[in-house]
Symmetry: C2
Amino acid sequence: MILPNALEELITEFMKFPGIGRKTAERYAMYIVNNFSVENTEKFGNVLLNIKKLIHNCPNCGLITDQELCQVCEDTQRDKSLLMIVESSKDVFSIEKSGEYKGFYHVLNGVISPMDGKGPEDINLSTLWPRITDNNIKEVIIATSSTQEGETTSLYINRVLKDVDILVSRIGYGVPVGLNLEYADELTLSKAIENRKKM
Amino acid sequence: MILPNALEELITEFMKFPGIGRKTAERYAMYIVNNFSVENTEKFGNVLLNIKKLIHNCPNCGLITDQELCQVCEDTQRDKSLLMIVESSKDVFSIEKSGEYKGFYHVLNGVISPMDGKGPEDINLSTLWPRITDNNIKEVIIATSSTQEGETTSLYINRVLKDVDILVSRIGYGVPVGLNLEYADELTLSKAIENRKKM
């Protein structure tokens, strides 16, 4: 049986998302056909048509924004001496929720991954070096994830900054707060022991 | 931290789907921003803008279609004496995959559910009765799911057809009890059709 063309196209669009297979895509597409109003469906369509025009990366730090400069770069209350380097805009949103950090960010929008043919020139690094030297930054906190690619990226940045008179630190890795010790994996536990602090 | 407006709107749209919470919606929205090309995003938007114009319910059987009549109703090779009653178009697609059934369908596009205030007048029944009496149908197979609402709907239809000289059967219990029909595998569906019982 052949599905109506327009439905098949909608299923194909949903299958482009990570973790959505044929069955789930069919379910979402059918949900639109059966449960969405005409107005709602058109609104969803128009939001998609406009999103790429409205959202772009902040030319200064790489964070996604709908303004000329992002709200972090525009914030005059922040600590100019601190710069945190993260992989993606999502990481900034997560860290901002914690409320712990008051410095600025630099969003790489990717990681160095030789396996995928992605080198330092493929991520948002070219604007990082002038930012560090021009802005009286005292500490750079590298907060890339603890995957192999995140570690590679971290080591690369650290090596480049070796001769610059700036404190370069790596975000602390250990057992997540609230997690029972028995559920932590071995690598996390080994990091947690390595990063132990005097009480 | 306030997310860009357009991004927040996109997240809201994704949260309207069943089983998608805030975190997953953020993930999908960010995936569009970071990984979809402008062309792909616009294509997705245009597919959504057109879907409601292109897809409608077949006026004869209720199946979704982009033609005047659906491909099942247009199929002259099918057995005119058999009519299967299902809850949704998805069920027709699943049953067609099993290849076991060669009759026609009637799609209710819902179930009788007193708990949700949905009675017989809220589902596609008004066109069912004339279809049965006008078309020399010999057997009506009720293939609503084995949920409480599916059973209620089945019993209601059976009661209305009690005085009509037609064999009314219920789809065979090869379909696991409690499982929604769309999740049944093809072999189970094929068995279920083969094992249907007279009511």
